[in-house]
Each structure stands twice: as C-alpha cells, then as structure tokens.
C-alpha cells in the first residue's frame, strides 16, 4: 500500500514537473519565434550583418520565447513585474538605454566632414522624408497616430532613436519597430544600391568632389556646444538623444577627457548595447509579436528606407542645380543621409569605386551620414512633440 502511495505521489510530482517544462507549454508560435531567432543568429554569424546588435537580439528572441507556465508566477518572463528580465527591460521602456548609446556614438563620431562642408547637413535633413512618408503610409493603413509615429521613425535608420521614440509613442510595437529598424540597417547594402543606380546617371556617379578643408580643433570643440544649445532651444524634446550625442562628442574633442571618452565609446556603449539588444529581442514574445501588425510594420519600415534613400539622392541632384561645376556633389552620397552609420557611407564609397576606382567618396559621405543621425533625432523630437 505504501509503495502504491509513493508511486502515486511520484507520478503527481512528475506530472507537475512536466506541466512546468517548455515542452508542455510550447505552442507553434513559440517554435516559429525560436526559429526566427536562430535565423537571426545564423545570418549574423555567416553574413556578419550588424553582429554587435543582431546576435544579442537573436539570442534574446530565443530567451523571450522559451515557453513556461505563466500562471505559476515564476517571475521569469520579461513582462512579469519584478523579474530580472523585466528590470533590465525598464531601460528600454523608460528610454534609458538609447541616450547612453548616443553618448557613446558622440564619443566615437568625427564631425569634421560635416564642419568642412556644411551644406552636406541639408542632405541629412532631406533623407528624413522617409520618416514622415512612412508615418503617413502607416496612418493610411489603419494605425493610430501615435503608432504611425513609432513606425515612421524606422525611416531614420537609427536603432536607438527608433527604440526611444517607439517606447514613448507605442510601447506595444517596440519589438516590431526595433527588429525592423535593425534588420533593415543590416540590409542597407541590399536595399540602397538599386535605387542609387536608378536615380543617378553615369556622368553623375563620376563626379569628383573637392577635398574637404582642414577643420581646426577649436571648431571641433565648439560644434557640440553649439549643437546642444541649438537643440535645447529649437527642439527640446530631442534633448535626451542629441544632448548626449553632443556631450559624448565634447568628451572626445575637448582633448582633456580622454578617459571618459574612451569609457563612453568602449565599455559603456558595449554594456548598454548588450542589454538593449538582448532585452529588445526578449520582448518579442510570440503572443505580442506574431501578429499581422508586425508584418505591416516590417512592410512600412522597408518603404521608409526606400523613401529616405531616394529623397537623399534626389536632394543632392537638386542642390547641384545651384552649385558651380567645381563644387558639385556626387549624388551617390545622398543615400548616406538616412543615417545607418557607417554602412550607408560605405555603400556610397563602394558604388563610387565601381564606376571610378580612384574616386573615394567615404569622407564626403560621412558628412550626410552623421547629419542623418542628428536629423533623425530631431525628427523623433518633433514626432514626440506632436504625438506624445
């Protein structure tokens, strides 16, 4: 009799244990998301697409989609208040991580190309049409205005800005927006070149730009201070991102805070990138991510990249109408206005070299590229100002 009771108790315990396992709680959606995570990791390792972000995101997708007994209140899920993942995720939800990443970006960015040829900054403005174009398309597809704003910001081709904006405007779309933004940034070498060829003539692609002038250290130091003041007075809602960007840049350029600059562009940005990528990946739980809305977000995100690329290219052609022959700009640098630093600028360079092996465009393309970072953060500030 006692043996029978022991066996029954053991059987009950085993049944309870089984009900807690991932095998018992697995739904087809979990498996689909785990498969997506594995594809991310595979593509990142084999193709080296944005590895620093897509590996944490891919692994986060795996962690976030391990099925478990949610009713048991184990406090392990990212959406369960008080769980470790939930606490780390607060950096995304509350918008702490993106400004810290901007601090690091500022500490590693050289604005010389922009200061040397300031009209390039306007290309960084023109490429932001992608954001507002996507915003209007999203509205037409039935999204609410705040959701449309969060989706539109994908066109800024800037992960931290996209996360910061969507965490404020539409937190429920954050996973889809972030994954979409980072995926398309990784796919910039695939998305942009066809449109760069389509909108430029062979003659335009061969334009050689004048070498940029030398920029003094004083200019480099004053640039972030001016940038901060301009941002603070014109677009205060862009301050968390742009304030930190310019702060990081001052740490780099001042010449007296080398240790702080190295920390900001090294250990700090690496740590925050790990936390940001991992928690964003983990936030894509099947129940919240596998929806028709997510597919729509991906489709609009792709369109926003295309619009931004095309308007950047066309704007350079427009500028060229007013420039003398020796000051003309090569339209192949127009794509770099969408941000996606530095991949977009590298594409300008590689496409330019394809048509003239001695025409190096990288330095020129870095101007609109860093202007794109500023432009997308200003656009985020404007969207937050109107829709938050």
């Amino acid at each position: 009799m006692q043996t029978m009771n022991t066996l029954l108790s053991l059987s009950d315990n085993l049944r309870t244990f089984w009900s807690y396992t991932g095998f018992y709680n697995a739904e087809p959606e979990h498996l689909i998301m785990i498969l997506i995570g594995l594809v991310f990791i595979y593509l990142t390792i084999t193709k080296e697409y944005e590895p620093l972000l897509l590996i944490p995101i891919g692994f986060g997708i795996l962690v976030g989609n391990i099925p478990f007994n949610e009713a048991a209140n184990l406090k392990i899920g990212i959406y369960e208040e008080g769980s470790v993942l939930n606490i780390l995720y607060q950096g995304v939800v509350q918008g702490w991580y993106p400004p810290l990443i901007f601090l690091g970006i500022g500490a590693m960015t050289d604005f010389s190309a922009l200061i040397a040829n300031p009209k390039l900054i306007l290309i960084g403005a023109a490429a932001q049409f992608g954001i507002f174009g996507a915003y209007i398309i999203a509205l037409q597809m039935g999204f609410a205005p705040n959701e449309a704003g969060a989706i539109g910001i994908i066109g800024g081709a800037d992960g931290p800005t996209a996360i910061f904006t969507s965490s404020k405007l539409a937190p429920h779309l954050l996973g889809a927006v972030a994954i979409s933004a980072y995926s398309y940034m990784a796919l910039v070498p695939v998305i942009q070149p066809p449109f760069m060829r389509l909108f430029t003539t062979r003659k335009e692609r061969l334009i050689r730009m004048k070498n940029p002038r030398v920029v003094s250290q004083t200019e480099k130091i004053l640039f972030p201070i001016m940038g901060l003041l301009l941002t603070a007075f014109l677009v205060p809602s862009g301050l968390p991102l742009l304030g930190m960007l310019f702060f990081g840049n001052l740490l780099k350029e001042s010449g007296v805070t080398r240790r702080l600059a190295e920390t900001a562009r090294g250990p700090l940005i690496d740590t925050v990138t790990i936390l940001l990528g991992f928690t964003v990946g983990a936030s894509t739980q099947a129940t919240t991510f596998l929806r028709v809305e997510s597919l729509k977000v991906f489709a609009i995100g792709a369109l926003s990249f295309v619009i931004g690329t095309c308007t950047g290219l066309l704007f350079v052609k427009f500028l060229n109408l007013f420039l003398s022959r020796e000051k003309k700009l090569n339209p192949l640098i127009g794509n770099a206005g969408v941000s996606a630093v530095p991949d977009a600028a590298r594409i300008s360079q590689s496409l330019g070299l394809e048509y003239d092996p001695s025409n190096y465009l990288l330095m020129h393309a870095m101007g609109p590229n860093v202007a794109g970072v500023i432009g997308s953060a200003v656009a985020a500030g404007i969207l937050l100002g109107f829709l938050y």
């Binding site: 403005a125 205005p145 002038r213 003094s216 200019e219 001016m226 941002t231 202007a371 969207l383 109107f386």
Partner: protein, 60 residues
C-alpha cells in the same frame, strides 16, 4: 476626400520636415559663422613648443 486624421498627418509631416530643414539650416549658418570667426591656422608641433619654452626638466 481627405479625412481629418490624414489632413492632420500631412500637416505634422509638413511642419516636421520644415522644422528639420530649419534646424539644419541654422546649424549650417552656425558652422559657416564658426569658419569665418575661427579659420583654421596651422597648429605648432609639440617639439617647436618645447624648443621655445623649454621642457619641465630644463626649467627645474
């Protein structure tokens, strides 16, 4: 027929793009002013500086 939401979206987009261009244009002018006020001058190499002023060791 444009819906009020679409009309508002167009307005936000127009104001947004105008705002970005305005921001960038002011930035552009500030950089031009910076170049005018503080043009690049060749900075003296460190050795020249020490030749002129003497090193700390020499001073001591």
């Amino acid at each position: 027929m444009m819906t009020p939401i679409f009309e508002k979206a167009l307005l936000i987009a127009a104001i947004g793009m105008a705002g970005i261009f305005l921001f960038m244009a002011i930035f552009y002018l500030l950089i031009l002013a910076l170049d005018r006020l503080m043009p690049f001058r060749e900075e003296k190499p460190a050795e020249d500086f020490f030749e002129e002023t003497g090193t700390e060791d020499e001073d001591n």
